[in-house]
Amino acid sequence: MSTFRMWEVFAKAEDGPFFKDQTEWMLKSFIPQMKRVIKEHDIKYDGKSIVNQDDALADRTWEAAKDFFISVGVYNQDTHRVMKFTEREVNEVLYTKQPKYMIGAGHDQRWFQMRSIEDRERRPFHLFSPDANFSTDIHKKACMAYLKEPLLDGLCAPLIEDFMGRKATSQSPTEVAAAMEHAMNLRDAQRLVGRPDVWTVSVGTAESAQAQIAAGNPVWGVRQSHLDGRMVSILTEMTTNNAMLNKSLHYRSYGNVFGNLCGAIFGGHAGGTEGTLVLQTAYNIEGACLYGSCWALNFPFHLKWQSTTTRQLLWLQSVLSQALSRNSNLIYMNNLFANAGPGTEQLYWECANHALATECCGGNPWGAATCRNKFTDMATPLESRFYHEVSEASFKSRLSRAKCEELCQKIMEKYEKLIPIDNYGKRIQEVYDMDKLTPRQEYLDQYERMRDELCAMGVEFPY
């Protein structure tokens, strides 16, 4: 089964085993199978580590994830059937998966590729993304501010909150129009900062398939082929529907280097750290088999805090990355969702820890989302700059997993107790001069102080 045999995959939505509702499938298949694979493959977390150094655990995690995916399949909400894949089909997809893509064009052309643990050759791919809504009146400026960042290899632009004074609403004309405006703003912003050919993952404002399709236009909107990326979600948990399959069909026919957006919930259907790890790893296999996606964006997050920077979730991303890097060609990114907001020291510590816990494990940074992803205008390029600089520093100075574990433990002490506190910080308009699109001096000073503190702990920045 090649990844391009999408019609054979779509047929599974009509032919698979029937369960009248998702809860029945969860109780009869998902939950017992998850318990089984955790036990059989001996997946255990000690509750303290942040950066995994056990290769055998990474390999067992991969085997558990594959076993789980083949045993459970994917529940289709529309047809109430489970789309199941045989081991042979999964192996064929994994074997034929491309380990790298050339994306973007001109001086912003880049290799987007899988990396190995403690990789000395392939630098991380720096995808900047606030993953937040921005007010319509500053949307284009915010895109420009992000595009100015020197380390940026790709951008997933902020979402637009409103269209003509009305809140962009899923499956309505306001969503379609907001998605088009988003795409137009992004193209304009790219030209205005001199990066017209940078690869963008577009368009986050479009939740529905019809809005995604409407935003595709080679002149003013989302471009075809390797010039732009798109995303299609795996619904929680191991679930899809026809809207998602429609998106994957459109992306493939449009030729984009598109990804699979997947976030297992810690404390959710998969249970604790071990189950969430197995599920998150399985999502990377699922995206490749079900949607034919070229890469995956991993955001396993905490049920209560909606963040990815707790001890358990950093460890999870670390094992996940190693499991994928050691056992597959699958390209993946690691998504940062911080608890704290712009202008707070806590946010910088969370960014540093996520970058350090993932880069040495073969990861690629995607961020930085702030404030538990809750508020409009509450993200800036400054914390993203810091996040990606730490990731680059980790690569350039060849930090080992052992060294990163030591650093992450020290940094965790600085923010772990603060996680339950709502430390949401400032809006972009307060942190940035929105005319010049540069950080205000007070916040630039704070950024420099945080870099100095990290240097004192042993992180060497390349510049």
């Binding site: 509702d21 998702q22 809860t23 969860m26 109780l27 939950i31 998850m34 318990k35 909400q77 809504n133 979402l159 909150e161 809140k167 962009a168 609403t169 899923s170 499956q171 969503e175 404002t205 939740e207 529905s208 619904l235 929680t236 948990e237 679930t239 529907n241 809207a243 919930i265 404390g267 959710g268 259907h269 998969a270 249970g271 604790g272 189950g275 049920l303 209560k304 909606q306 538990r372 992803n373 809750k374 508020f375």
Partner: protein, 208 residues
């Protein structure tokens, strides 16, 4: 053979064994109300453990499923409680939104807290909420949204309720990761809560 064993079967998710034992206890004269009190207490303990991340959603789900199986046996033996029949909550994820984990957790916690929960699932049309609320004489309508672009579905329902002249007939409760108390106030919702447990506590307080 005791209520404690029924509680344990429920926690283990063994609905079949729990139902068999419940039938046996009832035939031997154990009061249905005593069994139900024991089960409610056990679900409360499980809920607290879930809140502290000592147990997880699958544990709640399998226990909740067994709880409902036992309740179907107990129902005919129970006399109406002094504070009246259980309050009814109509629950769903709003139109265009297919994410249902938050809504499912709220449903289980509310059931465990003694509410009668009618779960409409995900991608629910506002009219379906309205019609179900009327038919079931709902005390609460709960609307979940996980996407910023689907949050307006909560506001749309509140407008519909006002237009239908039914505002105040039941509480409208909104929630979901991107929502906030400010959002709930802005759209005129009656209740917003941080999580499922706060939701159950607030509803109990408001409904008496």
């Amino acid at each position: 053979m005791s209520i404690a064993e029924v509680r344990q079967y429920m926690v283990d998710g063994d609905g079949e064994a729990a139902v068999a034992l419940t039938n046996k206890l009832l035939s031997e004269g154990t009061q249905a109300q005593d069994i139900m009190n024991g089960l409610t207490e056990e679900m409360g303990i499980l809920g607290e453990k879930f809140e502290n991340f000592e147990v997880f959603l699958p544990d709640l789900m399998i226990a909740g499923d067994a709880f409902m199986q036992i309740m179907s046996v107990l129902k005919e033996h129970l006399v109406t409680a002094a504070d009246g029949p259980a309050k009814t909550v109509v629950l769903g994820t709003v139109k265009g939104d297919y994410h249902d984990i938050g809504k499912n957790i709220v449903g289980i916690v509310l059931q465990a807290s003694g509410f009668n929960v009618i779960d409409l699932g995900a991608d629910v049309d506002p009219v379906a909420y309205l019609e179900t609320a009327r038919k079931e004489k709902a005390d609460v309508v709960g609307l979940s949204a996980l996407m910023t672009t689907t949050m307006p579905g909560q506001e749309e329902f509140i407008k519909l309720v006002k237009d239908a002249g039914e505002k105040g007939k039941y509480l409208v409760c909104v929630g979901g990761a991107p929502t906030s108390v400010e959002w709930a106030e802005r759209i005129g919702a009656d209740v917003w809560s941080f999580d499922a447990f706060e939701c159950a506590a607030k509803l109990k307080k408001l409904l008496g």
